[in-house]
């Protein structure tokens, strides 16, 4: 047992950090929308899925004969990240207009919006499986779709017995950069101030001349773009995707958001990384099939002692 732990601890940590970064990026979208609207956007997992397919289409179109390096790699990575962020952000805005705005206008309860979210989630999955994936790829819509390799799996350096590869570094670095950018945007810009004001007190924000519709739109755009980036990184790392790829991942990312403190951007980062690490560490002792159990056990234990999550809610407490 102890031997296992010593042998597997460092490689597990690397794997946990990489996947935790992807959790964290998806968790941002859950957290932002919740902070502003008090709504759990369950269709967010499909926004991530749309991001993976956008990247798939772009990578397949480029189809490098061999994995890229240096400036070419940087360019292609930037291209798939921007394309996925744009398409996913757009899809998230559209989702808001179709599934949530009419309900918000009519003053429907939050439960109604939740059902609408679940409906939108299933609708998007099936739409992709039945129509969009066959049209994009020419393959059966429910099959796994694979992408060519653009990043070589070269070991950059080793820590003990853990190999840190090029792709690991790209995922973690890209995720952290996106998080910092988002954090700056929310804390330092005018639109960010609008987001925080709306989260804190929607009525007062309206009186101060904040357009709620605009703020909501921007919130969905930003959250969706982050899910798009997560989709791009996911596809680069795992090189395949499927119409329901977001289902389990989405639930886990939502867990990460709650763990860190729903409505708290830094909490999403922390929650994602913690979840990724704890899953992988737990798997050393119990086996990989226990990952989901471990994740939710940790969530329940944390919520027993800190009902608002590790860092608590912050979007609304922030001082403008």
């Amino acid at each position: 047992m102890l031997d296992d732990f010593l042998n597997q601890f460092l490689p597990s940590t690397v794997g946990g950090l990489v996947f935790g970064s992807i959790y964290a990026l998806i968790a941002l979208g859950y957290t932002m929308v919740y902070g502003v609207l008090r709504l759990i956007n369950f269709a967010h997992s499909e926004i991530f899925m749309i991001g993976t397919f956008t990247s798939l289409v772009v990578i397949t179109a480029i189809a490098p004969a061999s994995p890229l390096t240096g400036i070419a790699l940087f360019g292609v990575m930037l291209l798939i990240i921007v394309a996925s962020a744009a398409i996913s952000g757009g899809a998230a805005m559209l989702l808001e207009v179709v599934a949530y705005r009419p309900l918000r206008r009519k003053g429907a309860t939050r439960l109604t919006a939740l059902i609408s979210a679940i409906g939108a989630s299933l609708f998007l999955q099936e739409l992709f499986a039945l129509v969009i994936i066959p049209w994009l790829t020419g393959n059966a819509g429910r099959n796994q779709q694979s992408a060519p390799r653009i990043v070589d799996r070269d070991t950059v350096f080793t820590i003990g017995n853990a190999a840190v590869r090029t792709d690991h570094i790209i995922v973690v670095v890209a995720a952290v950069i996106m998080m910092i950018a988002l954090d700056r945007l929310v804390n330092k810009t005018k639109i960010g101030r609008g987001i925080r004001a709306t989260a804190q007190d929607p009525e007062a924000a309206v009186l101060m001349g904040v357009s709620i519709d605009n703020i909501v739109r921007v919130t969905f755009l930003l959250g969706g773009a982050m899910a798009g980036v997560a989709g791009a990184l996911y596809l680069m790392e795992f090189e395949n995707t499927v119409f329901n790829v977001g289902f389990v991942l989405g639930i886990k990312a939502f867990t990460a958001a709650v763990l860190g403190g729903i409505g708290n951007l830094r909490g999403a980062l922390l929650g994602g990384i913690v979840l990724g690490l704890i899953e992988n560490w737990g798997a050393i002792f119990l086996g990989s099939e226990w990952k989901d159990v471990i994740a939710f056990t940790v969530l329940v234990v944390v919520l027993m002692f800190r009902p608002t999550g590790i860092l608590g809610e912050s979007l609304q407490k922030a001082r403008a």
């Binding site: 794997g15 329901n244 050393i284 990952k291």
Partner: protein, 391 residues
Amino acid sequence: MSGARLGRVLALAAASSLVLAACAGGGGGGEAGGDVTSVKIGFMGDLTGENAAIVIPPRNGAVMAVEEYNAKNPKIKIELVQYDSQGKADQATSLITKAITQDKIVALIGPAFSGESKAIGGQLEEGKIPSVSPSATNPGLAQNGWTYWHRVVANDADQGPGIADFLVKAKSPKKAFVLSDDQEYSVGLADAVAQSFEKSNVTVERDKFSKDASDYSSTVTKVAASNPDVIVFGGYYAQAGRLLKQLRDGGVKATFASGDGSLDQQLVTGAGTEAAEGAVLACPCNIPTPDVTGALKTFFDNYKKSANVDPAIYATEGYDAATAFIKAVEAGNTTGEKINDFLKSVSFDGVSKPIKFKANGEPENNAIFIYQVVDGKVKLLGAAEEAKLEG
């Protein structure tokens, strides 16, 4: 709805179904007693549902066998009637009733899947209709005491030992890592493989993951830490492809093997050509690939002519199942009972393997066939006893 009205509706429904049945029950086969000039044999399976890809090839094989036979202008012609059960037990039940009472089939090729086979086995027994399934692999089917039921494939319980024994012979491993996800088929196959390895004194380590997981890094870490000689994954190609890719990316170089659930070109697309290269796949099915020789080659060419596609999974088994009945009819047997008696002693060299049935309907020859990914294509190496790995 009041009682009287309900009664009227039911009567109407019953009457209309009788009318429909009368319309549907077209020309029957040969009349018993007189000189029979044709008999009807059924084929049942999922022809249009979600798993049709596994049933259409054996259907094509059966059609081909019957066409070849009828082309010889025999005394007793065979008409093949197809029943699309969609792989569902309830559909199979109503279809078999129609097949026995109206169409008067004398034998049935199928049902293709285990669930539907289990559902209609009793009806076939009562109706004295012999059946030969080309693809139902559940071990329990042979344990019902049915005397009219047969199959031409090895069952799931043979597959695990088949994979393990083959690898022991080919690679003489000291340590094996056996993996599965959380699906029933996957766990069952992995357990059988692990037990067989242990019987051969190979050290076995295990890990399991959720079928929906996308990140197998913890599994890869375990395998890398254990440094096994062979890795066996019991499961389907979607998970196998992802797993194999991540294992190879994680620097694990040991031989990777899997069972029939992974026997598909999609394993190669999922894992990537480079990672999939050399992967070993076992299946109770014998699928000729374009490079085969001899009788299999003849079958390959004829099938291509007849169906316009390359033979796929269970095509040869469908052909052999049909051939067993054809031999019975050729010998002048035109009733279910007589055909069934004939099957007890039938013995011929089928395309997939030598065909002979045990008393419980299982095939004498329960060969497992070995395939390997060579240059990005799944290639048939032959029956496990004589197959030699490449590379």
